[in-house]
């Protein structure tokens, strides 16, 4: 477990890297971190108007439904994309000093996660305004959030390793993310296709399982146990795979920068 020991030894650097990610993301914008709240709010409005009209959902909670899915999806897409680019982005450091390289992708996921937690304030606000009130089950929301974190770190590690060797992956991952998005049921109810032949595709998407359970907690329903099990196993497996592939290749990165 030298990796964890090193992480502790470099904790100052880790928090500096998280800070760097946040600072550079909003550099030169007037509102800064506030954007992490305004942006999802505006997106929610657009999606509600477009899909609410298109699909005929006029209930108020539909906005909460969209926003919750959208927030989780964008955390996943932004953190994995940031992790994918993290090794190249920190080229200046990697070429000159020794730093445990795992800090770069992990800090990239963590800084996006911090912004995501901030944006949950918006979700809380919107929920209360639109009449989705918290129940006891809301406390369980920490479970899908933890799975989401593990899954993002794992996927980030895999992508940062491959992305360092193959620049193309950046574009390929964008396309893959689009597929992930459409199979996440962000702006439609999965019941629409519940009984069709393609529902298994949704259930095979771990991010959809996380979103579905997150929504259950939010709306006071029960989590789907199959989805819970599947998404946790998938997340842990991804993390182990990511750690392994990263550690195996980390010394070669510098030759490709």
């Amino acid at each position: 477990m030298t990796g964890i020991k090193e992480l502790y030894r470099y904790r100052n650097l880790f928090s500096e890297l998280v800070r760097k990610g946040i600072v550079l993301k909003y550099r030169r914008s007037y509102l800064g971190v506030v954007w992490s709240m305004i942006e999802p709010l505006l997106t929610m409005m657009v999606l509600t108007v477009v899909f609410g009209t298109l699909l005929g959902h006029h209930e108020k909670a539909f906005s909460v439904y969209i926003l919750s899915g959208r927030l989780i999806y964008s955390l996943f897409s932004q953190s994995t994309t940031a992790a994918l680019k993290s090794i190249r982005q920190n080229e200046g450091l990697i070429k000159k000093v020794y730093v445990p390289k795992i800090l770069y992708p992990v800090s990239a996921v963590v800084f996006n996660y911090v912004l995501f937690i901030i944006s949950l304030i918006v979700l809380a606000g919107v929920s209360l305004v639109l009449g989705v009130y918290p129940t006891k089950k809301l406390l369980l929301i920490i479970i899908p959030l933890a799975i989401l974190f593990i899954f993002s770190v794992g996927a980030g590690l895999v992508l940062s390793t491959l992305g360092t060797f193959f620049r193309d992956l950046e574009y390929l991952w964008n396309v893959a993310l689009m597929l992930v998005m459409y199979t996440c049921a962000i702006f439609y109810y999965p019941d629409a296709i519940l009984h069709s032949d393609v529902y298994w595709i949704l259930k095979m998407n771990p991010l959809f399982c996380i979103i579905a359970n997150f929504r259950s907690c939010l709306f006071g329903g029960n989590m789907d146990m199959w989805m819970l099990g599947y998404s946790s196993i998938f997340a842990v497996f991804t993390l182990i795979l990511g750690y392994w592939i990263f550690e195996k290749n980390k010394n070669k990165f510098i030759l490709y920068l």
């Binding site: 100052n12 500096e16 550079l24 000159k96 510098i254």
Partner: protein
């Protein structure tokens, strides 16, 4: 960074270190190229030994000049000691905090301002923000970059970057300081100031590795020296003998 907990005065120990590079005729950057080459079984296997079987030790407080012509492997050696490269074979042991300044600069982020980089580089060397806040005025003062401290580093000249890097690296009292050509870019005034700073660190038991093509400067600052030639360590010892030998070589 591997640590050796033995309580001897050896702070750097290299044991039969060899560094080989795989010289790709062209860098394989895209998947298409990679798969084409893979199918053709053409992934290049041309090797180049940048360092060949190098062993030496450096004691605490020594200031070692590293001499050699271009391409002798000086920067590669510094990168291996700093932990940037993992050697192909052999082992490297170092003790304490290493502040490396390789190929003219420290590890900086070009998007970040000078001030932000001070904290970032401080953290790279293992220091907390609190500690760096105390060092901050001294670093800014020594680097003479007060007016530019809030400007992103990408707009700095190479001399300014070297000044900032040198100031941070020397103000935080590292155990090992690696200076690779750093003092060759600043103006004469800053160079003089830096040399004085280095000499004043002599009694603070900082170990210095100093790469320079300026033999006079090496003689002034170092008590020991080594000569590298084509990746091999051909001599190491007291500065006077080695300087003489190097002068013979470069005649």
């Amino acid at each position: 960074m591997k640590e050796n907990k033995d309580s001897s005065s050896e702070v750097i120990k290299l044991d039969t270190v060899t560094m080989e590079f795989n010289l790709h005729k062209e860098k394989l950057d895209s998947m298409k190229e990679y798969f084409i080459k893979l199918i053709k079984k053409d992934v290049d296997k041309k090797h180049f030994k940048a360092l060949d079987n190098i062993s030496f030790t450096v004691n605490r407080g020594d200031r070692v000049g590293v001499l050699g012509l271009n391409g002798a492997g000086k920067s590669t050696l510094m990168k291996i000691i700093a932990g940037v490269f993992e050697p192909t074979s052999g082992s490297v042991h170092t003790k304490g905090i290493i502040a490396p300044m390789i190929e003219l600069g420290a590890g900086f982020d070009m998007q970040y301002t000078g001030a932000e980089n001070i904290y970032l580089y401080g953290a790279v060397l293992g220091h907390s923000r609190k500690f760096m806040e105390k060092q901050f005025p001294g670093i800014v003062e020594f680097s003479e970059l007060k007016e530019f401290i809030d400007v992103p580093l990408k707009n700095y000249s190479s001399g300014m970057r070297a000044r900032l890097g040198f100031s941070i690296a020397t103000m935080v009292n590292p155990d090992i300081l690696i200076l690779d050509e750093v003092l060759s870019v600043g103006d004469a005034k800053f160079r003089k100031k830096s040399e004085n700073k280095l000499l004043s660190m002599m009694d603070e038991s900082t170990t210095v590795l100093f790469v320079s093509h300026n033999l006079e400067q090496v003689k002034r600052l170092c008590n020991k020296a080594m000569i590298l030639e084509k990746g091999k360590l051909i001599a190491m010892g007291n500065i006077d003998e080695i300087a003489e030998q190097y002068e013979e070589m470069t005649k």
